[in-house]
């Protein structure tokens, strides 16, 4: 069909301008899309649920007073409310480990827990691993060993590895420990691989991540 004879012919630019206006009109109401879209739960008005609560989070040594809905995950609070975007959202379902942070020194998946459940804890993200402008030994080893390619999983890998070293120091067992009745402190490759299995790397930097960890774990009194 010849466009020139189409009734009410509209140029591509006209069309795009039109749809842009329509799109902004749709997003005009000052309610987050997630709230507006959420159907009311049984027996209660959705509006009542949306009430934010005061939540005090201590992250990387700083105390933050936030106002959050109970359903906000720790991951979203860190990234969206505190601007700490070092912690990554990979799968958002506890399957990839990109969101790994430390809560009172223990590694957890920030995507599968609510921010409000972590009041009173010391949260450490990848932004908090360096001290006084100096990279942690693990961070330095990741650079030396080229333990990443795209880098998206790296913050989770680093937080996870930091906790791994503490777990080894404590003598924690793993699924590949020969006799779980005895304290485990030998950081064999098999032990490190098993203990890092909660952190996926789609670039496949595993050999270099292993090398970085092996090097730091072998240092006496490995501080992580």
């Amino acid at each position: 069909m010849d466009p020139s004879i189409t009734p009410n012919a509209m140029s591509r630019r006209d069309f795009l301008q039109c749809t842009a206006v329509a799109a902004s009109a749709v997003s005009l109401p000052l309610v987050p899309a997630t709230l507006a879209a959420a159907p009311a739960a049984p027996g209660e008005a959705a509006q009542a649920f949306a009430e934010p609560l005061p939540v005090v989070l201590k992250v990387n040594g700083l105390t933050h007073k936030l106002s959050l809905e109970p359903r906000v995950t720790l991951l979203d609070a860190l990234r969206e409310s505190l601007g700490l975007t070092g912690t990554k959202k990979g799968c958002d379902h506890g399957q990839c480990g990109a969101c790994t942070v430390l809560a009172d020194g223990r590694r957890i998946n920030a995507c599968l827990t609510l921010a409000i459940m972590h009041e009173g804890q010391e949260i450490t993200t990848v932004e908090g691993l360096a001290r006084d402008g100096r990279l942690s030994p693990l961070q330095a080893a990741f650079i030396t060993c080229d333990a990443f390619q795209c880098g998206y999983c790296t913050p989770g890998q680093l937080c996870s590895a930091t906790a791994l070293l503490a777990e080894l120091r404590a003598g924690d067992a793993s699924a590949v420990s020969a006799d779980v009745r005895r304290p485990q402190q030998a950081a064999s490759d098999a032990e490190i691989r098993e203990r890092m299995s909660g952190n996926l790397c789609r670039c496949g930097a595993y050999p270099n991540i292993l090398a970085a960890l092996r090097g730091v774990a072998a240092q006496p009194g490995a501080p992580g």
Binding site: G94, T113, S197
Partner: protein
Amino acid sequence: MRPFFYDRASNPEHALDLARQPDSRFIAGGTNLIDLLKNDVQQASRLIDLNRAGLEAIQATADGGLSLGALARNSDTANHPQVRQHYPLLTQAILSGASPQLRNMATNAGNLMQRTRCYYFNDPAFDRCNKRVPGSGCAALEGFSRNHAVLGASEACIATHPSDMCVALAALDAVVLVRGPQGERRIPLGEFHRLPGSQPHLDTTLGEGELITAILLPPSPFQDHAHYLKVRDRASYAFALVSVAAGLALRGDVVEHASVALGGVAPRPWRVPGAEAALIGQRVGTAGFDRQAGGVADALLAGAHGTKDNQFKVLLARRSIVRALQLAGQPMGGAV
């Protein structure tokens, strides 16, 4: 995630009071529940946070056993000195499940309460799931059923219970301690998870408003000879296709007592009373032991049948049972 109200329980009684509110759910580690809420597989108007309810103690009991607090983390339970020394089977099983991050969050009671990882249950895009929407049918029956049950299933549901920890608890004759509006009661682990029958939406025998407070372990004779064997599609961080918790008590090298439970094959940790009797009196490391281990497998797998996708599990389970018993008979950690 749909919005919800949030309450924080300061002790078990407070938690039970809060749970009287309509459409409320307990949350502890959250590793399964938050995922289910995100996917809209489950809904709740109110979450009651148990993390400050003071139920994390792991302590000796008067009968010489151990009480595992409902709120103790899986990682703390696995690495507790008393658990490692006296219940190594439980340590092995816990550490073979999930990842270190998840085990640091997940609690003992939460492990019992986790839902199946049936693909169709976990994705509301599928209309048919009797466990998620009672009466809607079962998409797994005609769909892909590699990780589904070969024992204890029904025409309404072929989902498995995904836990490793519970398999060891079954082999160790654990008891679930529960508090509710009618007071306290004890549920043997073997009676805690339900078979689906015509009501697959009911996973457990836990009553309305009841709260798990502890898991009780009787004294165990399996502190020296125990093996948890997990067979899965990758070496770590995957659910079991088949798992076996095997414990042996030996006098010299002769079996005095044995216990075997299966995971990954049924809607609950699978035990058959008396299945282990054939092993009593056998000498580990002999052909007779291996033969009787096969007899144990036959007893445990009686009536097993799979789908086109998981029939392999029956033979895999048989061989895994024999292998786990052989390994349990050896010194832990191999000949060192």
